[in-house]
């Protein structure tokens, strides 16, 4: 992967000047490459990585395994794209193995998620079965550990 994308993935707020310095590139080229990635849709957005457990939000997240029947023309895409349009669905993936789609669904409370599953998701044509698991605690998200950072144990000067 382009090193520029890697840097943006770890810190999208890094200034363009600094990105240029880190990669030994002129700032104009950094700007141009980012603009191209945005135009091509490789970069879809920039978000903060939150440790939501610390915010005591009234919110639950469920991971839902869904078995579906692929449609004749669109394969899994038709049904997967329909499901993905629900705003409750935060992430959706096509999987190999014993089920087909894996969804991350958010709601204000358990009941709301349950209603989503029973009234929105399950009745859809092509959805065969679902299995819902509620998330209890986040240890790591998007490659970022959620517990406090460890301190530097090194001596302050060494040879």
């Amino acid at each position: 992967m382009d090193e520029l994308l890697k840097l943006l993935q770890t810190n999208a707020l890094e200034s363009r000047e600094n990105l240029g310095k880190l990669l030994n590139l002129p700032v104009a080229e950094v700007n141009q490459r980012i603009a191209e990635y945005e135009k091509r849709g490789v970069i879809r957005g920039y978000q903060a990585v939150l440790n939501e457990d610390q915010l005591n939000l009234d919110k639950v997240t469920a991971v839902i395994e869904v078995k579906v029947t692929p449609s004749r023309e669109g394969g899994f895409n038709n049904i997967a794209e329909r499901i993905s349009r629900f705003p409750e669905v935060r992430s959706a993936y096509l999987m190999s193995g014993t089920y087909d789609l894996l969804l991350f669904v958010e709601g204000d409370n358990l009941r709301q998620v349950a209603t989503f599953v029973s009234e929105r998701l399950s009745p859809l044509d092509g959805v065969l079965s679902t299995s819902t698991h509620f998330m209890l605690k986040t240890y790591k998200r998007l490659g970022v550990l959620m517990h406090q950072d460890s301190t530097d144990e090194r001596l302050s000067i060494s040879p």
């Binding site: 310095k21 990669l23 030994n24 001596l155 302050s156 000067i157 040879p159």
Partner: protein, 391 residues
């Protein structure tokens, strides 16, 4: 200095007369201060790769808590011989030509003690790692320092060696990529040195502990050049590239006669390297490209950043090509390097190491290690710019 003078008089005179490392004095001051950003740390800020730590715990659970053979576990020596052959271009027999040591530090000491008779001269280049001169003296050798120069990219040339070498010179010590300058040697540079070593029949000790950490050109080892393998002791270890300093694990490869002699000292003084650390090293050698590759990319970006920050503030610095050190010149401020570092520490709370800690010819330079987070480097560069603006 406290303590009774009569005890001091009973010390071995070589030990008594060697000053303690200049780094220590500085360290003692820094530790009393709070909120210092340190560019003075000569070890990686990365954690040891997780799979290595995990494998070490597993080894402990399985009971790898006993002595290993003096040379080290054969499994490790085999893996090392393979790694060295692939990456450095020299073949060693793991049964008799590889010795696992307590860091490169021990390996250096063993190599010198195995070779030196009192009065034998050892050529080495300065600025250099703080231990070299002392280790030569402890082995009763005569240190002959050759100065490398910034205008030359701190590379070593044949002419510099010729000017110092005498018939009593037995050993040539090399360290590239270099601590503290970040210099490396090209194949061409090394060929001249190799020819010189062959002509003068010198034994070469090459400390290649930073070999994996090069940023613009790949590393070449002098052992891969014609005729050098049989007169060279190759030293390497896991401290830097794998971020395993505290494991204390290094190794030496060389002709069987030399390794046997080093093994004798090691056998009687150290017995063997830590068995747990050896198990960790076996694991570390399973996927070096991935573990080390990630860290190298990060160091390269920091190197780029720090080099352009120096350029922007008009600080002259030869481009660091390896290790994780930049060695800018502060001579234009007309302050001794030590005073520059002291004032920078007190006025801006950033620690750098005065170049004189690495030999007298380090005067006029400071060592800035970029083995620290980018955030720290950015802040340190802001403060440096402010500081030199006041000078």
């Amino acid at each position: 200095m406290n303590g009774s003078p009569s005890l001091r008089n009973r010390l071995n005179t070589v030990v008594r007369d060697i000053p303690r490392s200049g780094i220590r004095d500085f360290f003692d001051i820094v530790t009393t201060m709070k909120d210092v950003i340190s560019l003075g740390i000569g070890e990686p800020d990365f954690d040891t790769p997780w799979h290595v730590r995990e494998a070490t715990v597993f080894a402990l659970e399985r009971g790898a808590t006993h002595y290993s053979s003096n040379l080290g576990y054969l499994e490790l020596r085999k893996a090392l011989a393979k790694y060295v052959s692939k990456n450095f271009g020299a073949e060693y027999n793991p049964e008799s030509e590889v010795l696992v040591t307590v860091g490169v530090s021990e390996a250096l000491d063993l190599a010198l003690r195995a070779l030196i008779n009192p009065g034998d001269e050892v050529l080495y280049h300065e600025p250099c790692y703080v231990s070299y001169r002392a280790t030569i003296l402890f082995a009763n050798g005569v240190p002959l320092a050759v100065e490398t120069k910034a205008e030359n990219g701190f590379r070593l040339t044949r002419a510099m060696l010729e000017a110092k070498c005498t018939p009593k010179t037995k050993v040539l010590m090399l360290n590239f990529p270099n601590n503290p300058t970040g210099a490396i040697m090209s194949r061409q540079d090394l060929e001249d040195i190799a020819a010189f070593a062959r002509e003068r029949d010198l034994i070469v000790i090459t400390d290649e502990i930073y070999a994996e950490l090069t940023y613009d050109a790949p590393h070449t080892s002098i052992v891969s050049l014609p005729g050098l393998r049989d007169r060279t002791i190759f030293l390497h270890g896991f401290s830097k590239a794998w971020a395993m300093t505290g494991f204390r694990l290094g190794y030496a490869c060389g002709p069987a006669e030399l390794i046997e002699a080093m093994m004798k000292i090691h056998q009687y003084t150290m017995l063997c390297a830590s068995s747990l650390a050896q198990k960790a090293a076996i694991e570390a050698l399973t996927r070096p490209d991935i573990d080390v590759g990630e860290m190298v990319s990060e160091y390269r970006r920091r190197r780029n950043y720090i080099a352009s920050a120096f350029a922007e503030m008009g600080l002259e610095c030869h481009r660091p090509l390896g290790a994780f050190y930049a060695f800018p010149s502060v001579a234009k401020f007309k302050l001794p390097a030590k005073e520059f570092a002291m004032r920078f520490l007190h006025e801006e709370r950033v620690a750098v190491v005065p170049g004189t800690a690495f030999g007298d010819c380090g005067e006029g330079f400071v060592r800035c290690a970029y083995a620290t987070s980018l955030d720290n480097i950015k802040e340190a560069m802001l403060r440096l710019r402010r500081f030199i603006g006041k000078l």
